[in-house]
């Protein structure tokens, strides 16, 4: 089937989408946006987190067809058009919160959403907000540092 989705501000027409295909597959394999990652495809790891109409979702749990007519924003759509990094992206870099980086796109979208809702979260709020995002490399300490750092920088 043909599916039309607004992705990172641009209307995209995706052809030959199979009914069972997830939004994650459509983004990665059809829209050329591999930023959202596939680590479990079961809604457990948060690596595939993207915005759907402004709310973070696991793209692996959304059928591509369900996203038709809606607006999706991925990690690739967070930096400004001229390529400048978002403050969350800068903070993850500066805090050393990136090792293998496979969890990073999902964590960055989840943090971006948290800071939009709660500008100055305490540690308990950060842990709660990021509890759906697994990271196997960092032990999360520097991810906490990154979120604190981002919260303290101008948006």
């Amino acid at each position: 089937m043909r599916v039309t989705i607004e992705i990172n501000g641009t209307e995209r027409v995706l052809d030959d989408v199979w009914e069972g295909e997830s939004l994650l597959y459509a983004l990665r394999e059809r829209a050329g946006l591999p930023g959202a990652k596939n680590a479990c495809e079961q809604g457990e790891c948060g690596s595939c987190t993207v915005y759907l109409d402004g709310r973070p979702v696991c793209a692996c749990l959304v059928a591509a067809g369900q996203a038709a007519g809606h607006a999706v924003r991925t990690v690739e759509g967070l930096s400004t058009v001229d390529g400048e990094l978002d403050r969350v992206q800068r903070a993850f870099l500066a805090a050393g919160a990136v090792q293998c980086g496979f969890c990073t796109p999902g964590l960055i979208v989840a943090t971006h959403d948290l800071l939009a809702r709660v500008p100055s979260p305490d540690d308990a709020q950060i842990r709660e907000a990021l509890s759906g995002n697994l990271c196997r490399c960092t032990g999360y300490e520097k991810i906490l540092d990154a979120v604190r750092l981002a919260a303290g920088s101008p948006a």
């Binding site: 591999p34 870099l93 990136v98 293998c100 990073t104 196997r136 490399c137």
Partner: protein, 766 residues
Amino acid sequence: MSTVPARTAQDLTADVAGGIGHSPQRPDGVLKVRGEFAYSSDLWADDMLWGATLRSPHPSARIRGVDTSAALALPGVYAVLTHADIPGPSKHFGLVVSDQPVLAIDEVRYQGEAVAVVAADHPETARRAVAAIRVDYAVREPVTDAAAARADDAPRVHPDGNIVRYARIRRGDPAPTADVVVRGEYAIGMQDQAFLGPESGLAVPAADGGVDLYVATQWLHADQRQIAPCLGLPQDKVRLTLAGVGGAFGAREDLSMQIHACLLALRTGRPVKFVYSREESFFGHVHRHPATLSYETGATRDGKLVYVKGSVVLDGGAYASSTPAVVGNATSLGAGPYEVPNVHMDVWGMYTNNPPCGAMRGFGSVQAAFGYESQLDRLAAALGLDPVELRLRNALHQGSTMPTGQVVDSAAAVREILTAVRDMPVPPTDPGTDPLGLPGGAGNTTHGEGVRRGIGYAVGFKNVGFSEGFDDHSTARVRLGVVGGEPVAVVRTAAVEVGQGHVTVQQQIARTELGVDRVVIPPADTSMGNAGSSSASRQTYLTGGAVRAACRAVRDRVLDRARARTGVRDGLDLAGGNVVDAGGAVLVPLAELLADGEIDETAVYRPRRTAPMDPDTGRQDFAHLQFAFCAHRAVVDVDTELGLVRVVELAAAQDVGKAVNPGALVGQIHGGSVQGMGLALMEEIQVEGGIVRNPSFTDYLIPTILDTPPMPVEVLELADPHAPYGLRGVAEPPTISAAPAVVAAIRAATGRPLTRIPVRPQDITG
């Protein structure tokens, strides 16, 4: 030559100034935070096909027949291959022993063993084709008890018997006695590395009849060595390039989809991509060896260790993988980081029909440490001594003799790291009443009633680099040239970046040695010499050593040119892109010197060569290159009624010799600690009758940010004079000491013996 796929590994050019001892940003960091870093699962070629694998549902069975006709008849299916399609000469692979069939040959030895592979135009078509393959199995009773598999009359998993390796230590008195003796039996479940980036890669058939494979691995040359003979190709026609790696932790040291993708690419003439699902990933890589351990520890009344007798059975599962090395570590390190005059160790690594086990962070040491550290706590209780005090009285130090007879020839800071964690401030004792800060967390299971606090300590240690006579080495090529009027160093190696930050370290070394800011790291590939594996905490030491050596060769030639040009003979140095004199004054810019041509040097770095242990006594003066130590103090709150644990704090102290990149190494200590904590509390692949019960992230739990406590870290820098910059390997020791420290803390809170990890709620509630 083939065309390079549309999306593939990138040169890393981004850099932030910073040499040895600094923590510059990762050169791949900007790509990673933008979502633009090309992981192996992101690779893409125009006309590529998707691979899929048919795996055995049975842990042990004969195969009477395989019928692929229905699969081949499906539209969109381009190839279905079984073992009969493997050109050979080899149809097997294996890291140490070539014992595992690329595709099952007449029998399967574990649930999940690959039987056939398919290439199709959509991953769903490939999955349907796999489902359409008919296999006629004659199911057999699996061998699932590793200890029982040692019996002479046990059914054989492989024709030569079930023992992959037996090793032992016989040191000192053969029948030692002591004032106080404690005995214990311990068990460790099967842990999974659970990296986030699934096994994946893209094989592209080449015009010269060879194949180019872009893949996430830990050791490009070991892959190449095993792949080529199965394809019937010479090594140089199987070219590997590292794609982005989403974590490894040992699980990528063995092959997964590599040979399958190459076979299908060569058969179809099209690029073939594999990406394992999470469930398939659980079957697609080896795990940490489950173990049963039996220890007897004797000491004098004033707490000096007299002897350790240990017997360890490691379940290696269906194929050997790195079991021989795991056995070697559990044997030689099995008495712990202590001075013990009399040691008997007997360690078996076994074949069974359970999932194959091999490398995972800290292998061999993790299992042994749970045994020897639990024993020390038992002994402390029997002696009425403080557990830290008992450890201090027996701490290994520089000049101590290991059970193998090896004398520790650089710092062994057991005393220093133990006192460091002991002396860190202790978190406030009142856990409060917010459920999020209590055991059970958001489950809201307690408001503090039945909650008890406990504190536990442990020390662990690990050999760094490959031991027991392996010719460990690495290779680097460094080219210094001029780009846009600026001196630029290009550092090429085959060393694998798995997330640990090795690419950052390579840049730091080049900046320090060559006095330049700009350092480019092209993707690692097999056109370079062997770098060895990104495992055994060895890459900063080994490839770091090679990069340093190549830089120094380049530097010597630069300085020769500078002497010829300036006439200044002595005290020349490189700094800030210039050749400077002893006072730091600029003599000549590098860019000017390099106008005469760039300088290009390759170096192979070989550290001191280790040697095998004596098979009867374990005796060997130099079995290991280097030892690395970590200590933990765990503080836990335990809901004693429900058996739930919350780790309040997990403090670590580690000697790193030289903090080459302080930020990255603290990140290693954090991540390694949490993997050890996960082993203590929740991580276990549950295997019943050879069948894996929980191959998903829904059922195999790893710590989330809510499970993970604050982790203060103290880093010591006691240089090892034999190692580049004095450094010591970092990544594995934290995983070794974290698990026994957490369990010791739960014991302190509950008084329960807790002889098995992961600790289950019923172990606490009784």
